[in-house]
Subunit: 277 residues, 2 copies
Amino acid sequence: MNIQEITSFSNPKVKWVSSLKDKKFRDQEGKFFIEGFREISKAIFGNQKNTNCFRIQIDCLFISPDCFLGNQETQLIKSANCPVYQLPKKIFEKISYRDRPDGLIAVAKTPNPVYDWNLIKDLSFNPILIIEGVEKPGNLGTILRTAEGAGVKLVLVTDPKIDLFNPNVVRASTGTLFTLPIFLSPLDELTKNLKKFSYQIFAVTPEGRTLYTSANLCEKSAFLFGSEQYGLSAEAKKTSHDTLFLPMFGEADSLNLAMSCGIVLYESLRQNKKGII
Amino acid sequence: MNIQEITSFSNPKVKWVSSLKDKKFRDQEGKFFIEGFREISKAIFGNQKNTNCFRIQIDCLFISPDCFLGNQETQLIKSANCPVYQLPKKIFEKISYRDRPDGLIAVAKTPNPVYDWNLIKDLSFNPILIIEGVEKPGNLGTILRTAEGAGVKLVLVTDPKIDLFNPNVVRASTGTLFTLPIFLSPLDELTKNLKKFSYQIFAVTPEGRTLYTSANLCEKSAFLFGSEQYGLSAEAKKTSHDTLFLPMFGEADSLNLAMSCGIVLYESLRQNKKGII
């Protein structure tokens, strides 16, 4: 392995990797930041297990062996097959996003996240999850993690207010950003194509017409969820086949976006008898 | 209203309220910290709507009118009926727990959170939620918020690793700590009493025997969830009537504790046909 030691805070590589916390700089460089053993493992191996996932090309690794928690780090570093910069713990902590860093940060090329409907000849995953206008990286990460748990095979994001490759998406997703296919697609394009492939589109909203457990989710379904603050756009509600609501006691804002997604996705699992795996 | 202006960072009241971020100091003073218009409103009025909730006695308020977001703050301050300390924005931001404080922090007497089973002659809420060994204040808050949404009327917490009155519980609960009855009870005591009142106790765990949607949740049920890191104790699993699991695709850790609670509670709602409210 080609390991280069860095000992100074003012090393340009340290400054460069720190700057990737800023979206503008990420866009300019076309790179993003993956922290943690689990997350980097998934970034390297996710696309090998499921070729619909992002193909992540790791440019370089920043490591701090004093922070390592396990004994497979060396193997992972070899798998990354890229230049490695070794830092003292103090400097590593400065570039880390975590309270207790585990000594591994990768910088990777930002993949193109736009879904290319022209390549899609058929689509039969049930259900598909669509998130419109998401505002908080942590929420999107939690949604991905939960969607993977619920067996979802495709997540489409439309008009996000955040960058899919925000370090907090990576973190909250526990790396499922790299093991679950997730893509950007404009609303009109995704609804047109999902309808072409015979999906029933359900907009989930507090003002929905149909109780979510009363809808038939055994046909091919796509669930459309809106932003934390503003909910779904009028266009999203209008283009859907039906609107669903979750019963809610107490205060009106008792469920957060990720929780609502999880509850609806698990109801879909239940109806599709995918309980026993 | 008795409003006293404070203009200096070194004012003892400012130091005192800042120190309440520390659990030891909270315990020593027997006080805790409630931030935000919504949260303080619920603390004041929660027990009036449901006398099973904590009765919160507010000792004093710290306000910063420059941060107010609405026009009902003055009314709320009057309702609190306590000494009020007015601070400049800069000092208020120092004591706040929030990125964008809304100018209201209350200090209240810590209520006794121990459930007194001797006072309970009958119990018929369905379901009851039990959380064992919870480690993260934010998770407990989210669980409360979700439980309220799902119509739960009683949450019991056993052997928590955190303080129920941690400011992050208040925050993540969005004030449902004050509108949903929540109490501490030792595991042996709560299971003995719940059995006495004919509850079936379901431990929810990845190694559960029964698919959660296959269990009959229409009888009086109590769901027992374990800690984020260690799951349920052996004692908790042993004392339960049955153990339930949620189906999980992808990585084993795909669902967090609050999400699992939400999914199980909404399945209980579904089975009990409490959909339409």
